[in-house]
């Protein structure tokens, strides 16, 4: 295998040289004719000369007027940097091109600048003004990249300039620039730690940012600059939890690990006192990891902080991430924070990661090894996933073995041992030896199989491979120590093998056993010593030491037979080359051989040498790893890495919970209708949940709540949390409004854009025909029948509710009493009930009005309609159009709002109509019948697109004001437009 590998690499080397010469050739060909000559000549010179001349050559190219030559030169310079060659002398020539118009050239100059600025500080300053200018560019990407490069130039003189730039960028309108500024914070901090205080201020400000782009980067900066300033997190905790799913994957890892630390300082332990490892309970929970169940048991003693629960709930979906680092970080979060029985949630995902690359397996297996020591139950069902394959790398095999050993218990030990038998025969001898160790551990841990294991190991003593035999001897020695009474047979057997064993560790082990249990093998032990006396000089040190030991012990127990032998060996030892052996010999001689000089110790020699010795405990190498946070570098190395932050213990009493409360400010109404905002943190996740539950005709998206629009910066600082969720592709702003509009109206469908809380005036509904739906048929309702319709009036009870009018009639021949609304599901469903109707006479009917909060979803509201005797389950399923509320809006406003649509929320319904009556009036009528919308006054067919001939253009706008909760009103303003032309064409 090794040789083959070398052969291959040689082949690769040869190929590379060929390719390199091809590369040279290419370069020569590409250059201008004059360069060609030079290039050809410079290959003939000596290597040192070539290098220099090559640089001369590059300098000339860089100073030329031709863009293409400069670019070519820069490419070669980058090639030099990549190879680790020094190209610093070109600095003056390169830095001139920093303001080049050619983007690629500019980028390559940046690469160069960042690499060498530290070495050429004075010259680097020449480039600074270019970046300062670029920081003021209107284009956000240019601003961002200027800041990126500026902050990467590690020149201490420009610290004040960087500080200023970071501060400005942190208040930039573009979230992308703010993200870049968060990255720059770390760079400045490592350049000049004295700026810490000022940087913390910037971090504090950026932590309040609601953009998902910024969240990850600012937490990285936080972790680096001021990881101990937990107080900065309080107010942002809930926001971070809610944003987490939408943050890019690398940011997720950092945020999760920061929140793990945070949670350990802020919440009390969810682990019940005294009942730390209830394996049985865990197994019961394993089958059904239902949340309710767990909540019920928890409720008895301990109530989890809702914020703690929020973190656990919001990280759970990330277990499905494709990024292994994210999965691992969620797993460690659950391990360190979740109640014991919930930790099992992560098992499956961790096992899934084992299919990933070898390096990923390595880390994951390490973590599983640590987990499996404390919680066997977690991984036991997946035991077979840890079976070793012959193709695994050795360190993977060893880790799998470790885990299998940890998982072994009375029930599965026979399966595991059978599997181990295969491993022992492996051609990978290091692995076979590790397996023998593992068998030894199983044998000590599970007393039922000790004898079986011991017998198996004794069989291995006749193995042909030396390492296997040696390892078996060592393990048998350890096992015998635990129960030495009945095993003299094995000791005899080993004595017989002694001549054939050459591995010193194994020989030493046998000698030790002989000495320790010499009373059990009184005839054999002196014989072994005799043999050793013969070969003493040729043995390894460790064997010599044990020989001296054996001699001493035998001298004490059986001095008649062994006195001379012992003296002979001690004499040999006295003149040995090794210090250790000489020392030991001298010590033993004084200890055991009585003479006039030897002190009081002589009397105790027997008690010293033949003292009962405690049996060694065979422990996992991962026993103590749990002192490190899982998933960290320190855990992987089993030693503290620099910059490692200890995970604190749970506090006995939770600190004040209210620090995380964020004041809710009443929405500012109507004052500025064009003011829109950034994504609202709290409402965003909620509405995602709802939107994704929408029914089949609704295609929705848990769209990343966006924060792209630039007009929002002012809003971001104020407490107004508003959000935008939009449908359809982000439009290019350069396109005409009309062109983007046609995006919206696909196939005559109505496309509703669920929009953020705009402060639009809600208008009276433009009336459409009211459709009545059946709620309860009188046959099923034992006479009670109910019908409902949506009156399209704002609900009086609560602004977020949809008004529903229910007509109850009594179709039976007796009167019904106490009609009221009973249980509802989901229990959280917010219904404003009608007052209980005391009595409804036969044939009578009564209309009552209710308010239902559908939470902006078309999910049905289920509740019970009860009479005195009976309860009937009924459900109201709203059509999506009924969830909307019309608002008045001028056409300009409409187009402006429409231009801001960014997100991915779509709700659609098809309006079918005959071509014949496709007048604008008819279209309007049809649309109104399905949706509660208002009309935008429009008179200008001129806005219609060029690609469709001018025609009647019906525009409708609707904005609904719905709330998701009483404390957090987040009305949305969906816009609907319909294009009469298009719908006609389709019908």
């Amino acid at each position: 295998m090794d040789v083959g590998f070398c052969l291959r690499s040689e082949a690769a080397g040869a190929m590379r040289t060929a390719l390199m010469s091809a590369e040279n050739l290419q370069l020569t060909l590409k250059a201008e004719p004059s360069q060609e000559e030079r290039a050809l000549t410079h290959t003939k010179r000596g290597p040192e000369e070539t290098h220099k001349a090559g640089n001369e050559d590059l300098k000339e190219m860089l100073e030329s007027n031709k863009e293409s030559l400069k670019l070519e030169a820069m490419k070669r310079v980058v090639g030099l940097i990549a190879k680790g060659k020094n190209a610093s002398e070109l600095f003056p020539a390169v830095v001139k091109n920093v303001a080049s118009k050619n983007i690629e050239l500019k980028k390559l100059v940046y690469v160069y600048l960042v690499r060498y600025a530290e070495e050429q500080q004075d010259l680097a300053l020449l480039s600074i003004s270019t970046f300062q200018r670029a920081l003021k560019e209107p284009n956000q990407f240019i601003r961002a990249s200027a800041l990126r490069v500026l902050s990467s130039i590690r020149v201490p003189i420009i610290v004040p300039i960087m500080m200023l730039a970071i501060k400005e960028a942190a208040a930039d309108m573009s979230p992308y620039v703010r993200k870049t500024s968060a990255h720059a914070i770390q760079k400045l901090y490592s350049l000049d730690p004295d700026q810490k205080e000022q940087l913390i201020e910037v971090i504090e400000k950026l932590l309040k940012d609601k953009s998902t782009l910024v969240a990850g980067s600012v937490v990285v900066a936080f972790e680096e600059v001021c990881p101990d300033r937990i107080d900065l997190i309080h107010k942002n905790y809930r926001k971070l939890c809610n944003l987490l799913v939408d943050v890019e994957e690398w940011g997720q890892v950092v945020i999760i690990s920061m929140l793990t630390r945070y949670a350990r300082t802020q919440f009390t332990s969810p682990w019940k006192e005294g009942a730390s490892f209830e394996e049985n309970n865990e197994k019961a929970f394993y089958a059904s990891d239902s949340e309710e169940k767990s909540e019920r048991t928890e409720a008895e003693a301990y109530v989890m902080d809702p914020d703690h629960r929020l973190l656990l709930r919001n990280t759970k979906p990330l277990l499905q991430s494709r990024n292994t680092a994210v999965v691992m970080s969620v797993a460690q979060l659950y391990w360190h924070l979740a109640p014991r029985h919930e930790v099992n949630l992560v098992t499956k995902s961790l096992v899934r990661l084992l299919r990933s690359h070898r390096e990923v397996q390595y880390i994951v297996l390490q973590n599983i090894a640590t987990m499996s020591i404390q919680r066997k139950g977690m991984f036991e069902p997946y035991m077979k996933s840890f079976y070793v394959r012959s193709t695994d790398a050795t360190h993977i095999k060893t880790l799998k073995l470790e885990i299998l050993t940890n998982l072994a218990n009375e029930a599965n030990i026979s399966t595991i041992l059978r599997e181990f038998q295969t491993y022992v025969k492996s051609q990978d001898k290091a692995f076979a030896a590790a397996t023998i160790q593992a068998i030894g551990r199983c044998a000590t841990n599970i007393s039922e199989v000790t004898d079986t294991c011991l017998n198996g190991l004794v069989l291995l003593l006749s193995n042909r491979d030396e390492t296997v035999v040696a390892e078996s001897v060592v393990v048998i020695k350890k096992l015998l120590q635990t129960q030495p009474t009945q095993h003299s047979e094995i000791i005899k057997h080993m004595a017989k093998l002694f001549d054939n064993i050459t591995v010193s560790m194994a020989r030493a082990s046998i000698l030790w056993l002989m000495g320790e249990y010499c009373d059990r093998v009184p005839k054999i032990a002196p014989d072994v010593l005799r043999k050793m006396a013969k070969s003493f000089t040729a043995e390894e040190d460790i064997v010599k030491l044990q020989t001296v030991n054996l001699a001493a012990k035998l001298y004490l127990t059986n001095s008649k037979q062994t006195k001379l032998l012992t003296q002979y060996i001690l004499n040999l030892g006295k003149y040995d080359q090794s210090y250790d052996i000489r020392d030991r010999t001298r010590f033993i001689r004084q200890l055991i051989v009585p003479n006039e000089k030897s002190g009081a110790l002589n009397k105790y020699a027997r008690r010293i040498l033949l003292a009962p010795k405690p049996a060694p405990v065979l422990e996992s190498a991962f026993k103590d790893r749990d002192r490190y946070q899982l998933g960290t570098l320190s855990h992987s190395l089993n030693s503290k890495a620099s910059g490692y932050q200890e995970l604190s213990d749970w506090p006995a009493v939770a600190p004040d919970q209210s620090v995380r409360n964020v004041e809710v400010v009443e929405p500012v109404r109507a004052r500025s209708s064009q003011r829109f905002s950034l994504s609202g943190p709290a409402s965003s996740s909620e509405s995602e949940e709802q939107s994704s539950e929408e029914s089949d005709k609704t295609s929705s998206d848990s769209g990343k709540s966006s924060s792209g629009s630039e007009e929002t910066s002012s809003g971001s600082d104020s407490q107004q949390k508003k959000k935008k969720k939009t449908k359809k592709a982000p439009q290019k702003k350069s396109k005409t409004a009309a062109a983007s509009r046609c995006y919206l109206f696909l196939r005559g469908k109505m496309v509703a854009d669920v929009y953020s809380r705009a402060s639009f005036q809600v208008t009276a509904p433009s009336f459409g025909p009211v459709k009545t739906y059946e709620l309860l048929h009188h046959m099923t309702g034992k006479g009670l029948s109910a019908k409902y319709h949506f009156p399209r009036q704002p609900c009086l009870h609560q602004p977020g509710m949809v008004a529903v009018q229910v007509t109850l009639s009594n179709g039976s021949d007796r009167s019904l009493e106490e009609i009221h609304v009973g249980d509802r599901s989901p229990a959280s469903l917010n219904i404003h009930c009608f007052n209980t109707i005391e009595r409804l006479e036969p044939e009578a009917s009564v209309t009552v009005s209710m308010g239902i909060d559908f939470s902006d979803s078309t999910q049905a509201a289920n509740f019970q309609l009860c009479t005195k005797e009976d309860g009937f389950s009924v459900s109201i399923q709203p059509a999506v159009g009924e969830l909307l509320m019309p608002s008045s809006l001028s056409e300009q406003d409409f187009s402006r709002e429409q231009g801001k649509l960014l997100g991915m929320n779509e709700t659609s319904a098809t309006v079918a109509m005959a071509t014949a009556n496709a007048s604008s009036q008819a279209v309007k009528q049809r649309v109104l019948s399905v949706a509660n919308v208002g009309e935008v006054p429009s008179g200008a067919p001129s806005i219609s697109r060029r690609d469709v001939p001018p025609g009647p253009l019906v525009m409708k706008t609707l904005s609904s004001v719905l709330t998701t909760g009483s404390c957090r009103p987040s009305p949305r303003a969906p816009f609907i437009r319909d294009d009469g032309k298009r719908s006609r064409a389709e019908t």
Partner: protein
């Protein structure tokens, strides 16, 4: 090292020493010379008092023969002599795969991945989740593969400028910035033969003129303004069986790992939904970020706005608790007689549970014991090779014909005098079955919303053997 920005040299120096892992006595480094003849002292980090905790400091690419052929630094330059620790570890490891992924050195930590026989070694200076780095390095390799078709030393050297530009965009100050292939492709165009030619002639560049709007969009994985004349969406359901079969032919463990790889070339912003006939089969799934998780939770429907081009939509796991159909059986008789320098080798393959589909591209490989000198075998079908150096026996069987089962029979010559090997070799099998997903997973339908054209849709199923081992 010679230019200290701060005057607190001594104190900070002591600090950085104390922050070291207790690994080796520090004094030993003063004398340590690297392979390149540079003194190790040169690689001291600049003595800023807090450990600068950039995630990834530097990246070195090392080929199989131990040459550093590319280096990139995102912060101060780390001398390449730091790789000496890696080379030491490499020497200790018997096989290239056995190099530990995490290696501590006095000042740095080296985290490496090995792919395509290239080591990607990242230099870390302080605590960071190792998986974070490993995952990123694999993402880098995937990106190179995506850009250059292959990720070999030659390809990287040929495209060193593109590689540098990519690495520059992928990390900022050691923290991943843009790793989404769609965004990167907007920033830096992948080199094609045509484009290279055009660039040489016209002097135009690989760097995208457009600014990466995707980074800001709510669908950061999809580039904007996609246009195709033929709109197509292809999905490949590929399942791999991982199994260990014991001597007697019974299954010790078997599980199915599946992926759905997609190649979507659709204009505009299509919104796709993909539903399965039997979604309950999927035991554990991981998604591309484009998949709406809530929708999956609620309805078991994959709803997503796809990235443009090739991507992995989903990977899933059908657990070992379910019964897994094993597509082939192996009859084997491999014996070594005591005292004889001959061994018998007899192997027959046959289809087992294939649901009537043909088993194709069968490749059998086995690592024979060290004592085997040569093998004289006779293959009834296909060809076999035996590498006397690595002792690797490979038999390219091709398609299994159920009427005439393929077999490989003959004898092995053993080293004279060597004792009989105590383990029989393990047999690894690769195979392919077209038009079938062995778990029985079936896609029900694929719908597109949001765009009005009719795309061409295609779904392909395939079953492969993953880590399929037969113990003999």
């Amino acid at each position: 090292m010679l230019m200290f920005p701060s005057d607190s040299l001594i104190t900070s120096f002591v600090y950085s020493m104390s922050a070291l892992p207790p690994f080796k006595p520090v004094t030993s480094y003063w004398f340590r010379l690297s392979q390149n003849g540079q003194n190790e002292l040169l690689c001291f980090p600049s003595p800023a008092s807090p450990p600068p905790a950039a995630m990834i400091h530097s990246l070195f690419l090392i080929n199989a023969s131990g040459d550093i052929f590319l280096e990139k630094h995102w912060k101060s330059v780390v001398s390449r002599s730091v790789c000496d620790y890696f080379f030491e570890a490499q020497e200790r490891a018997s096989e290239p795969e056995n190099v530990p992924p995490v290696i501590p050195t006095p000042h740095h930590y080296l985290i490496s991945v090995l792919r395509h026989r290239i080591y990607f070694v990242a230099v870390i200076q302080s605590e960071v989740p190792p998986l974070f780095v490993i995952e990123f390095l694999h993402r880098v390799v995937d990106t190179f593969q995506d850009y250059f078709g292959v990720c070999t030393e030659a390809a990287i050297k040929d495209n060193v400028v593109v590689v540098y530009e990519l690495l520059e965009e992928m990390l900022d100050n050691g923290f991943p910035l843009a790793t989404e292939s769609n965004i990167l492709k907007e920033l830096i165009k992948p080199p094609t033969i045509l484009r290279t030619m055009v660039n040489t002639i016209t002097g135009s560049t690989n760097v995208g003129e457009q600014l990466p709007t995707g980074q800001l969009s709510v669908v950061p994985w999809r580039r904007t303004g996609v246009k195709y004349t033929n709109n197509e969406a292809y999905f490949d359901v590929v399942e791999e069986i991982d199994a260990i079969i014991d001597k007697s032919g019974s299954t010790i463990t078997a599980e199915i790992q599946g992926v759905i790889d997609a190649c979507v070339k659709l204009t505009g912003m299509p919104d796709l939904t993909l539903s399965f006939m039997n979604p309950r089969l999927l035991d554990d799934v991981s998604f591309h970020p484009c998949v709406r998780f809530k929708r999956w939770e609620a309805e078991r429907i994959l709803s997503f706005i796809p990235p443009d081009g090739n991507f992995r939509l989903l990977s899933y796991h059908v657990s070992s608790q379910n019964l897994v159909a094993i597509p082939v059986y192996v009859k084997h008789n491999i014996t070594f007689r005591e005292g004889s320098s001959q061994g018998r080798f007899d192997l027959t393959l046959g289809p087992k549970q294939t649901m009537g589909k043909a088993v194709e591209a069968v490749l059998v490989s086995s690592q024979l014991p060290r004592g085997v000198l040569n093998a004289n075998l006779n293959a009834s079908q296909g060809t076999y090779t035996f590498d006397p150096v690595t002792k690797m026996l490979t038999w390219d069987v091709g398609k299994i014909n159920p009427q005439k089962l393929p077999s490989l029979k003959g004898s092995m010559n053993l080293q004279a005098g060597a004792s009989k090997p105590d383990e029989n070799p393990t047999i690894n099998i690769q195979l392919k079955i077209q038009q079938m997903a062995i778990s029985g997973l079936k896609v029900n339908r694929l719908d597109m919303y949001g765009e009005k054209y009719k795309p061409f849709k295609g779904i392909k199923y395939m079953t492969k053997a993953g880590k399929f081992q037969v113990r003999t």
